[in-house]
Structures are given as structure tokens and as C-alpha cells.
Symmetry: C4
Subunit: 209 residues, 4 copies
């Protein structure tokens, strides 16, 4: 079964890596018109800052998701079909983030930023739901987790994902009215996920003693 887990993880890693790298395609090359000047290209490149920002945000987001995904797999002793579907749904949402990123890149500095931000936050919310499903399909009743993982840690991760759900839901709703705040909340939460992962590492070290 060990090999099975490894292969699903390798496939998921591949999708994460591709989804991550495809993000660069969301930055569009400025059109070259008849009279090209240095000044025009300079300002064209600077005016692309929403594209750079959207690329940066999504790159960091997908990278942290990958780190968490990997942290999650370490706890599993085996996988089943239910887990495969939950993981497939997660990969779908992670792949999808390319599209709201490109939308955000184009519409960030326009009056439609609230719709673009809500679309982006909504996708992040969907990814959180996928992580909750992943937890449910594997950790609920300890179906697929290794024996050495404590109940305490399982509950802790569940609570973190649930807390994430409510915060992302709030960020999604607020994005319609205060788009920058909505995006800021989504971004801030990454630090929380990193912290969670760090905690996991510390737990791991403790367990090994």
C-alpha cells in the first residue's frame, strides 16, 4: 500500500508543479504598436503590476498548499477510492486557480475589482472546502491515518481547516464590498497555514523522541 500512496502523491505533486508554473501565462505581453519607444515599454511593464501581484499571490498560495498537502500525506498509512476523489477535487480547484488569477491580473486596477476579488476569494474558499473533504475522507474515524498519529493532532488539523472555512467565507463575502480587505484576509491566512505546518513539524520531532 505504501507504493500506492507514493504514486498518488507523485501525481498530485506533478499537478501542483504544473499549476504553479502555468501561472506565469497569466501575465500578458504588452502589445507592440507601430511606434515603439523605451518610455512606452517602461510604463507598459510598470502598468502590469496587478499581473505581477496576482502571480505572486497565487504562486505563494499554491506553494503553501503543496507544503500542506505533503504534510497531510505523511500521516496516511493507506488510501482508498473516497480519498482519491477528494484528492482529485482538490487538484481540480488548485488547477482552477489559474483562471481567477488571470482575471484578477486584468481587472485589479478597474472598477470591477470587487467581482475579480470575490471570484478569487471564492476559489480559495473552494480549495479550503477541498481540504476539509480531504480531511474527512481520511481522518474521520481515523480511517486512513497511521497509528502513531495522535487523536489530538487530528482534531487540531480539523479545527484549523474548519476555522479556515469560516474566515475564507467571510473574506469571500467581504470581497464584494471591500475587495482589497477580502484579498488581504486571504493572503494573511497563508501565514497561519505555514504556522500550522510548522507545528506539525514540531509534533513530529516530539514524537520521535
Amino acid at each position: 500500500m505504501e507504493k500506492e500512496t507514493t504514486r498518488v502523491e507523485a501525481f498530485s505533486d506533478g499537478v501542483f508543479a504544473i499549476a504553479l508554473t502555468l501561472l506565469i501565462l497569466s501575465i500578458k505581453i504588452p502589445n507592440r504598436d507601430a511606434f515603439v519607444t523605451s518610455e512606452k515599454l517602461w510604463f507598459a511593464l510598470i502598468n502590469l503590476w496587478p499581473s505581477y501581484l496576482a502571480f505572486l499571490l497565487s504562486f505563494a498560495a499554491v506553494l503553501i498548499m503543496w507544503i500542506n498537502h505533503h504534510g497531510f500525506f505523511k500521516y496516511l498509512r493507506k488510501i482508498n477510492n473516497g480519498f482519491l476523489y477528494a484528492n482529485g477535487f482538490l487538484l481540480l480547484t488548485v488547477t482552477f486557480i489559474n483562471f481567477p488569477t488571470a482575471v484578477l491580473a486584468v481587472y485589479f486596477a478597474t472598477p470591477a475589482v470587487n467581482i475579480a476579488a470575490a471570484f478569487y476569494s471564492g476559489t480559495i474558499l473552494l480549495i479550503n472546502i477541498a481540504y476539509n473533504l480531504l480531511w474527512f475522507s481520511s481522518a474521520y474515524k481515523r480511517r486512513l491515518v497511521k497509528d502513531e498519529i495522535s487523536d489530538e493532532l487530528i482534531i487540531k488539523i480539523r479545527n484549523a481547516y474548519w476555522l479556515g472555512f469560516f474566515i475564507y467565507l467571510f473574506a469571500f463575502i467581504i470581497s464584494f464590498f471591500l475587495p482589497y480587505l477580502g484579498l488581504f484576509i486571504s493572503v494573511s491566512l497563508w501565514i497561519f497555514w505555514l504556522a500550522l505546518d510548522y507545528e506539525k513539524d514540531k509534533k513530529n520531532k516530539l514524537r520521535k523522541r
Copy 2:
């Protein structure tokens, strides 16, 4: 020979993962015109629903194909050149599905939906033929299958792929006249493939007892 099988499988996994992730490029960003408003972007994003649907359908399809592909490899004790070509043809059809998906995304809500649906169903039919060839190149006369795989299981998989062929052929033809029904049949069949895979798993478990 074991290593050989692993490497072809790893390469195929890579192509599956990339073909899966590239699907997101079939959703095109709405054009930004001179007067951007929240309402316009809202409706533009909503009007993309055929794109979301096509992405969802193809993502699920490729994912299930990957699961089946993997299930198939588990039965092989070695591979030969004939199998490599059959597998290469399968990868070609799996990669190709990106194109009918993009066509379906653009033409779903138009009078040309029947052609788009037939093109899509036809590609799914082609993928089924590739799976039949894969079966033939490896399981016919038990050329490449492991000794512990029962004849019964081999016949069962063959029958499932053949049944699939006739249903997909029917879906392809019906798509010209009743496009939504044609697509619905293609989609419904995925559940059947999942069930097949599940059966495989149960068989595996039985064998291990």
C-alpha cells in the same frame, strides 16, 4: 523488467498530469473593454459557464482515465514494443481531449452545439478504442499479464471495454441529433468506470487473503 514498467508508467503519469492541468487554458479571460463595470464582469464570468462545465467534465474524465490506467499497469508483469505503441496512442488521445474541450467551451451555448458535442464524444470514443488496444496488446493470450491475475478478471475487463465501445459509439452518433443526451451518456459512463475500478480493488483484496 519491473523498472521498465515503472518508467513507462511514470512517463504516462506525467503526460496525464500535464494534459489534466492544461485543461484550464481552455477557459478564456473575458475581454476588458473601455468601460469596465462590476456588472459587466459579473455577467461575463457567469456567461462562461459552458467553459467551467467543459473543464469540469474533462478534468473528471482524465482523472478517471488515469485511475484506470494505473489499475491496468498493476496487472502487467512486463511490457513490450506493441504495448508501448498502444500506450503511446492512448497518451495521444488523452492529450488531444484538450482541443474538443476548448471547442465545447466556446460552442456549448450556440446552435452548433451538436457538432461540438459529437467532436467531444468522438474523442471519448477514440480514447475507448485506445483502451481496447491497450487491453489487446497486453492481455490477449495473457501476453504481458502477471500469473496471479485470473482469466476471469481479464475477460471481465475486456467485456467492460467492449461494452464501453458500443455505448460511446451510440453517444457519438446521438450527439449529432441530441447533443445534451450524447454528452450525458458519456458522462454517466464514468461512474461505470469508477465502479469497475472499485471491483478491481475488491478482487485485489480477495486475492490477498
Copy 3:
């Protein structure tokens, strides 16, 4: 050193798999104009046949190159920097084939087909040169090949690659005047490469006895 070879091979496999899958992006979706009809889409999809053909040709080409590349790696006992550069140049040419494929797709059924075909054949010629360099960097004076590989086999592969060079050079030049013949020669040669690979396999089996 074994691990080193494995990693370079895995990286190369990744580039092959991505270059292969990106080929699908060379097929462009037909534009949707104001009055969409089934007939229009039907003919638009049929008129894309040069795109399908170019996709098919390049997919088969890259797949066979991958099989040969893999066959080549099996003979190596270690790698050095010279080999890394030769391999890097090969990956560059394999990646590049995406561009002449897209050009061929667009210009196949036009009066400019000879330039498109020559561009395509020229790239195939370049790939052949890369394979010759790969041979030279590793098999010349048996620098990197395993002890169990016979001198006879090394010479045989070298001769095959050199023969390929002259045939591809001829195909490249003839493409300017008789584009379809030039392309046909390039395609026919794949069967030759497959045969070469098969011979390798047979040799391997003999050696193991």
C-alpha cells in the same frame, strides 16, 4: 553515480512529457463569429486537418525520440558534464519542435508549405545532430558506456545516427522543392528508429542469456 544518471533521465523524461503535451496547443480553436451554425463549425473543424496532421506527426516523433533516448540511457554507466550539455542541447531541440509544428499546422495547406516543411524538416535534422552529439559525448572511445555493451552495438548505433543525418539533410533540402516528399521521408524514418530500438531489445535479450 547510478542515482545521478537516474535523475538526469527523470528530468529529461519530464521535458519530453511536457514538450509532447504542449503540442496540443498548436491546434487553434476556430473563431466564433456572430452567426454560428452547425455547418460552419463542421467545416471549420474539418479544415483544421493540417493541424491534426502536424500534431499527429510531432506527437509520434517526440514519443519515438523518447523511446530512443531511454534506450540510450540504458547503456550508460555514468554521465559527465559534456554529456549533460549534449543532453541539454537535445532537450532544447525537442522543446523547439513545438514551434515548427505550429507553423506547419497553419501553413500546410497554403502556397508557403515548402518553407513550413523545410523549417520542420530542418528542426528534425537538428534533433538528429543532437543525437549524434549525444552519441559522441558518451560512446566515443567508450567514455561513459557500460562494460557489457559490445563495440559492435556502439558502432551500429553510430552508423544509424549518421545514416539518419544524411537522410534528414536530404529531406530538409528536398522540402524546399517537394515539401510533401520531404515530410514523408522524415516520417518514414521513424519506422527505422523503431526498428533500431527493437534490435536493441533483441540484443539485450541475447546478452542476458
Copy 4:
């Protein structure tokens, strides 16, 4: 911990391979107008030389970065979160190079070449900073390096990266005024990195004696 390092390296390899292969998308197919002739396509393909050059430069750059990245990983006995972030930042910059490459391809033969060259050199500078951070996060106070790696080698790599920083900074600034010189300096330095890597190899061999 060994497995942990392997997995991060495999993920990074994936991103490198994809970023490398996506570079081909920076070459745009010449538009087909109403009256296609061989001469037009001939000159259109020749006029794309800045695109070929930009593709070549970036392909070589990313490949050498990958070789160095791999050389770096060989020295690590474990990884921690700080290293993961530094590595993530490196992957971001490596992925990003696709965009300045595409900009350079379009604006190389225009009066705006200085901005395009500075944008490109600036990204190379950013990648160098990422390598410096990678060194700092792992080799500073020998946090993550293997015991058998000498202090001398660690200092040598650090000095090479720092020297690189000042040369790339110079190339970045000079690009605004003498774009071709700036690009030339960036390119020349690759030979230096290759030399560094070669030295590493020699060191490795010495150590094994």
C-alpha cells in the same frame, strides 16, 4: 529526512522542467494574411530571430540553474522551513523568467530594447539573489549541510554567488544604456557557473579518494 530532501528536489525539478519547456510558448506564430507566399513566410520566420535568441538564452540559463540547483542539493543533509521558503522564492523567479524572455523576444529589435534587456537582466539578478538566500538559509553556520562538506567549499560557493550578485547588478544597470553589453555580461556569466559546477565535481571526486 533523506526522503524529505528527495521530494522537495523532485518537485523543484518538475518546476524547472516545466518552466524550461514553457519557454517555447514565447515564440509567436507569424500571422497568416490573405495572400500567403513562400517569400513572406521565409522572411517572417527569419524576422523571428530575436525570439529564437531569447528562447536559446533562457533555455541555457534555466538548464544551468537546474544543474547548479542539483549540485547544491547534494550538499544538504536535511531541509527546514526556512530553506523551503528560500527554495520557493527561487522557483518563483525561475518560473518568472518566461515573461521577460517573451518581452525580450518581442522588443529586441526595437528602440525599446534597453528596457527589455534591463527587465531581463533584472530578473537574472533576482534569481541570483534567490540563490544567495538559498545559500544563506542552508549553509550559513552550516545549518543544513552534510558533515563531509568542507568549510572551504562552503565559503567558495558563497563568494561565487556574491560575486555573481555584483556582476549581475552591474549588468542590470548597464542594460539601460548599453542593452547588448548588459545581456552579453549576463550570458557570459553562465560559463562561470558551469566552471563552478565543474569544480564541485572535481572536489567530489577528490573527497571520494
